[in-house]
């Protein structure tokens, strides 16, 4: 039998109540830590050029794919310890873990690196769990997951050699990388613990800086819990020339493969030159709620998805 809207909304109400608590505790956590909440535009003239993230167009502007560029423009002028929970939009992303419109939590701090952001996440997730009365062990999809820090860490190099049998630093194959990541590497992570996958090849650095002593490696970390990609952290790139070069490559790839025109975010590039040493992280709020609600699908934690809107 097909569930109607009333039945569906009654069924997921406990999850939506849990969601409201998680938002409340997240905001409280950052406030207590001296972070302040900021809001930046949802409709923007330029997004970060990324070949695999397709923005929705809106009267020649775009719907935000991430607040990152604005957060860094704030940091460049002297703001510190910022956080934001914003609506983000990415075309075509729909599945058990995706809705084209989703909630992103981002926070930034100066004088810190990507691993500090991982540590922040450990503390934040654990604090929320305890305020929800769950404790350090959650149960997700019939699996107990122990959230006690520090979370196990593995480099991209080691994880790929172990699970997929090849080295993505010597063989550059982004397509094979993505396929093996989702079909071999992530399924190979320990089920009962979070996993931090870190030190991506320079070609996948995106907006992260390269290791000063080892420039084939970027300071980027991704956090996985229960098979879900929860958050992505960078030590932020501060070299405006390098950032422009990376964006240019993405713009060329987008034009070549997808015949889309995308503008260089000039104002952001100007800000990058003034960026203090800093790090940031983006965390999928819907997925965090999924974990704490033991929800199989994003549809269980969102009142109206693209299919029920």
């Amino acid at each position: 039998m097909i569930e109607d809207e009333t039945q569906r909304l009654i069924r997921i109400k406990p999850n939506l109540e849990q969601r409201a608590l998680i938002y409340e505790f997240t905001r409280a956590f950052f406030r207590e830590w001296g972070f302040f909440e900021i809001e930046t535009p949802t409709r923007v003239p330029a997004v970060a050029p990324e070949a695999q993230i397709v923005p929705f167009e809106s009267e020649n502007w775009f719907l935000s794919t991430s607040p990152e560029l604005y957060m860094k423009r704030l940091l460049a002028t002297g703001y510190d310890r910022l956080f934001q929970i914003s609506r983000c939009f990415r075309k075509g992303e729909r599945g058990r873990w995706h809705n084209p419109e989703f909630a992103m939590l981002e926070w930034y701090r100066t004088g810190a690196d990507y691993m500090q952001m991982v540590q922040d996440t450990e503390e934040m997730v654990l604090t929320i769990a305890s305020r929800l009365g769950i404790g350090s062990i959650i149960s997700y999809r019939n699996q107990k997951i122990d959230l006690t820090p520090p979370w196990p860490k593995i480099t991209v190099h080691d994880a790929f050699l172990r699970a997929a049998g090849w080295n993505p630093f010597t063989e550059l194959d982004p397509l094979r990388f993505d396929i093996d990541l989702v079909s071999k590497v992530i399924p190979g992570f320990a089920l009962d613990r979070p996993t931090v996958l870190h030190d991506y090849p320079a070609a996948m650095a995106s907006l992260a800086r390269l290791k000063p002593d080892k420039p084939i490696v970027s300071e980027r970390a991704e956090i996985f819990i229960g098979g879900l990609e929860l958050a992505n952290a960078y030590t932020e790139l501060r070299d405006a020339k390098e950032q422009e070069k990376r964006f240019q490559l993405e713009i060329e790839q987008i034009e070549r493969e997808q015949h889309r025109k995308i503008a260089m975010p000039q104002q952001f590039l100007q800000a990058v030159a003034h960026l203090p040493a800093c790090s940031g992280i983006a965390l999928g709020m819907d997925r965090l709620v999924m974990l704490f609600c033991n929800a199989d699908s994003i549809d269980e934690v969102v009142a109206f998805t693209i299919d029920t809107a």
């Binding site: 695999q52 993230i53 075509g92 992303e93 058990r96 990388f177 989702v182 079909s183 991704e222 997808q258």
Partner: protein, 188 residues
Amino acid sequence: MDIGDVRKGSKLLINGIPYNIDEADFMKPGKGRAIYRLKLRNLLDDSTLDYTYHSGEKVEEAHISNYEMQYLYNDGEHYVFMNTENFEQLFLNEEKIGDKKYFLKEGALVTVMMMGEKPLGITIPTFVELKIAESATTTRTDTITTQTKSAVLETGYNIGVPPFVKEGDIIKIDTRTGTYVERVSTKK
């Protein structure tokens, strides 16, 4: 069509074979390509297959339609069906019908799956009622020792039936397994 537009229930044509998408898993590393893991069901023989696509790939959509049709008769060469909406007749050869021919009775309603103008196959009801054309009479000893005896349906199909079923009886058959379900009526 773009792989990104494929959903559960979409129909694709791959190497000339039409498939139904039974399951579509969308996976995407935040900064990486979208990966689509599909469970495909071959619409011709029902076999299943797993296939992985990635963003940007193009696939061919199969335009499949289903029509309700009535089986009219066999002209010796073809099975003749009539579309119940527009009354057009469709001639199918035995190969397209396969073993379902044993459960087709004149007048029966079936679903015919078409790809454009090309018929792919038919779906028959799960249960059909057919008459026993021949059945050995049961001796007293047979009744004690055997649970079933063999009989031949009006369509020529051999089937095991309980000993009390007689020639001329109408029985119900499960077409998924080709087995006897119950006796519907008996010849007076």
